[in-house]
Symmetry: C2
Subunit: 585 residues, 2 copies
């Protein structure tokens, strides 16, 4: 027997196997996952395993290594989150999300830090040796909402899209704030004196960490998209690039002390659109499937390890401090959400209801990130107290809040996610309204959301797509091209005949069956209609319409600062006028 | 900058990225891969990189760690090979493959070892200090054909299936022999005296290593199949089990000093059939895609590392020894193939032509396995000579033989692989012949290939499928069931009417359109025919036919030792007779 030789991969494989089998086990009893969130069950499994290890060895089981967590377990989950992030609600609410993530987190850090310092002054609790700085450091790690825990719980309760994106977006983007504040307070702890310049440097650092992460992520994302332009002959390694580049973006950001989470999300969101268009369908299935698989395994392992690491002798049970930590976490978050939402609602038409506010405050779960950060703390005599408090906060939020949030959502009748996908009609109208609003914003000179979206879309189609897409010039099999062609043909026919036409003004409205000869028309129209009811075809059509309706607007002559009316090609222009005139007749 | 923190994953990711980009680079110029095998190009890239590292650091670049090779790079390639192994030609030629793999490898080891020992006795070459045992040890590592190199070259030249499986199967299965002989000679080198019992123990060990590997592999494979029975609710982690169990089988085999390669192949071949039936189609696409991707990356990394490791000061250039090693490798292999094929051809109808023999002998490429084994040798004063000889043999076989084998195949007009998939008719006839031959073998009492195949199939359908498949009892949407139903209905109708029927004797031959009312018959028949031309539907039909034609034979009354004629259900039996009698009329 030669166990040492294979020990590392063998044990890793066994842990993953255990996690997967645990997942299967829970799902064998259908009722269990509908009552208790999976995360709770997994922590429970971890607790039992930790207990067994503790009982057998009579010493603390190994705690989750922070390096393993940050380098190997966290990236797949964040990549998955970024890649499947619904970009429309995210960007629609980006202001609110950033407010919660930045101001809200800072509010929580200082709120929790100062009030715990107040508790430490109470002589009875014997905590006078915990300094303000240590309390703030603890506040900085306990304040941040955890994306892994939030995702695990919110995936199961299906609240409406906006509510989901507010909590989830906050949990992802607060990473930049957490990184900065945590590192700032940690270095303050080790400094003999703190100058005011250090504080200002810290504030400046926040922008560097956040925006630097975005920049790193986007550059890797675009490189990934560019690389997939050239993989036509070796389809089989296409999925690899998605994973490699996003992982590299994370590692690079971490290397430069930027926010890795922000980087990987920017990378995933940046590349998704182009990569999807470049790679084959099978590659894309593999990418999606493997991402889900990987993140699901990581997530499982994190919760099991969380359970295992809880058992042991790493804790100092000073109950007043621990209880007040839990209370302050709840209170400050609730206050923060109330205050911030007050301001948000003043500037938005689409307000956040008080029910939503309650769920946002209640959904502030803590998880493995706090846990890893508390173990990364430099050694000092009260570290074990912080570990105990963090453990209790995590277990409280995951078990108590995680298990009660679903009944509460039911009880409050919080608006749920709509089950059906939007129809083609809805999609076209939404898109139409977007363009309309962009036009209005452009005319009124208000640089709002639609204005920027429009600019971005213009930049994308003008430059990015040409560089990043393999087949930029070939959206030929498009319903819109057919429409244009028919329109033009019709106009020419009218012009040639020189007569008034009361025929179908929009031939494309008749459907593609219009082209068929009368003999087989009914049959083929039927078939087409059947095709249209097929969800794949529908998706495809939505896609084509979405991509091309924009182009049509672009070739139009009006209300647009980038093209003067005279700029468009003269012959095209003449044709357009011809068509319009004949329509007028 | 904090590079140390992320160094390990960062460098691994960068190496994989380099490998993938190199692959893309080669394929950008379409002509390059058609002349030079990719493996040569990759070694070349490795050589250049090694040269750069050597030039910059002025010391040898890091050699490929044998542990990394055997634990992380080799398993994906072997798993891919085992999973996509065409089982029919493999089992049809298993005898020949084993002969080449076992007897051929032993022949090569001793041939090369003894003749190199002879060279060492020539005083001019200054090699008298290399003992016979060391020569045999060297022979044991240099004799084995390498699956990675063979796969890389033979994938591109498309020789006929039998030839391919002979070379490739040999390269996979000789692992057991190599492991045993290498470890045997290595332990002999360290022993003061060698007893004859040690030699016999070595021979016994061979069976343990080979058969143990098969057992370990099969048990993990069946466990994997059994596990996938329960993944219906969490489709997303299905692919994981395929990878986890096969990797565990490899590691377990390695742990017990068995043949890991044999284990992982047995595992993959054992589980494939059941796993495929249990998991969803998307999961299966992911499994296949990821396997190909992983093996392709591993393969790329291996060849690049091979190139990098070649540069440096690890070599002792004793040219006589090195040149004679190359010559002996070629000569002994050619002789071995000739002698063994002579015996094979005496016992087989389907002989191996002399062209095939030439390609088998010429296709004996050496690769990374030899290379890793030579670095694992215990330190002794001539190790660098062995490293140099191994490097030259690998480069010679990969570059010279690998690059000339394609022109030679063209020149000799070796029979190529047929491009088209077999038709349904062919498949049915092959299957029919199989059953016929199994019956003949059963009657004649000859326990040949078909007899065992039949037994295995019986065991599979009787026990294994019931345990391992999720939906064993539901092959209901089958064309054969329809056929049986129609046959029965027809017979009953005939019996009720009491008249002679000259209607369609085999209603199923009319196609499924037979069931439609005359109104929409033409339309629906057309549609069905279209369906049938669809490759997916065709595959499905082939599958159904393949699975069920067997069952039909089973329910038949004749020539079978497992069921006595009286054993089949009486009512079924009566019906069958009724049908036959009415047919007779």
């Amino acid at each position: 027997l030669d166990y040492q030789h294979v020990q590392v991969p063998f044990e890793i494989t066994l842990w993953i196997m255990l996690a997967s089998l645990a997942k299967i086990g829970f799902h064998l009893y259908n009722k269990l996952p509908s009552v208790v969130p999976e995360s709770c069950l997994l922590i429970f499994v971890g607790l039992i395993m930790g207990g067994i290890i503790y009982g057998l060895n009579d010493r603390s089981p190994p705690v989750m290594d922070s390096d393993i967590f940050f380098l190997y377990l966290l990236p797949p989950i964040v990549l998955d989150a970024g890649y499947f992030m619904p970009s429309r609600p995210f960007f629609e609410n980006i202001g609110t999300i950033l407010l919660y993530a930045v101001v809200g987190t800072i509010w929580n850090v200082f709120g929790i830090g100062f009030s715990l310092y107040g508790i430490c002054q109470v002589r009875v609790f014997q905590l006078q040796d915990v300094s303000l700085l240590h309390n703030l450091l603890f506040g900085s790690l306990i304040a941040a909402v955890d994306p892994v825990a939030v995702l695990a719980v919110f995936e199961e309760i299906h609240v409406n899209e906006k509510l989901h994106i507010l909590v989830f977006g906050e949990s992802l983007l607060n990473d930049a704030v957490t990184v900065v504040l945590y590192k700032l307070f940690r270095s303050f702890c080790e400094m003999p004196t703190i100058k005011s310049t250090d504080v200002f440097a810290g504030v400046g650092k926040f922008f560097v960490v956040g925006l630097g992460g975005v920049l790193v992520g986007l550059s890797f994302g675009f490189t990934a998209a560019f690389t997939t332009r050239f993989t036509k002959d070796i389809r089989v390694i296409e999925p690899l690039f998605v994973f490699l580049y996003s992982y590299l973006s994370y590692l690079t950001a971490e290397m430069f002390h930027l926010s890795g989470i922000v980087a990987i999300i920017a990378c995933a969101m940046g590349m998704k659109r182009y990569v999807e268009a470049n790679i084959s369908l099978k590659s894309h299935t593999t990418v999606k499937y493997f991402m889900k698989m990987w993140s699901s395994v990581s997530d499982t392992l994190i919760f099991i390890f969380l359970g295992v690491s809880t058992i042991g002798e790493n804790h100092e049970w000073n109950w007043p401090y621990i209880c007040f930590t839990v209370i302050f976490c709840l209170v400050w978050r609730a206050l923060g959400v109330l205050v911030l939402t007050f301001f948000v609602n003043r500037f938005h038409v689409n307000t956040i209801t008080s029910k939503d506010q309650f769920i946002i405050a209640y959904g502030g779960l803590r998880g493995a990130i706090c846990f890893s950060l508390v173990f990364l703390l430099p050694e000092f005599h009260r570290k074990k107290l912080f570990i105990a408090a963090t453990t209790v906060v995590i277990l409280f939020t995951v078990f108590v809040q995680g298990m009660t949030i679903r009944p509460l959502v039911d009880l409050l009748a919080v608006k749920r996610k709509r089950e059906s996908a939007p129809t083609v009609g809805e999609q076209i109208h939404i898109r139409f309204l977007d363009h309309l609003l962009a036009g209005i914003e452009d005319i009124s000179g208000h640089w709002g959301q639609y204005y920027w979206k429009d600019k971005l879309e213009y930049f994308n189609s003008k430059y990015l797509q040409k560089i990043l897409l393999r087949e930029y010039d070939q959206p030929k099999s498009s319903i819109v091209l057919l429409y244009e062609k028919l329109e033009r043909k019709h106009a020419i026919e009218l012009a040639e005949a020189g007569q008034l036409g009361h025929g179908p003004a929009h031939p494309s409205l008749l459907g593609p069956g219009f082209l068929c000869s009368s003999n087989d028309r009914t049959l083929r129209t039927d078939q087409k209609l059947e095709d249209i009811q097929n969800p794949d075809v529908l998706d495809n059509m939505q896609e084509i319409l979405a991509r091309n309706l924009y182009r049509i607007r672009r070739t139009g002559p009006a209300y647009n600062r980038h093209t003067l009316p005279g700029e468009s090609e003269p012959s095209e222009h003449a044709k357009e006028i011809l068509i319009l005139r004949h329509k007028g007749l």
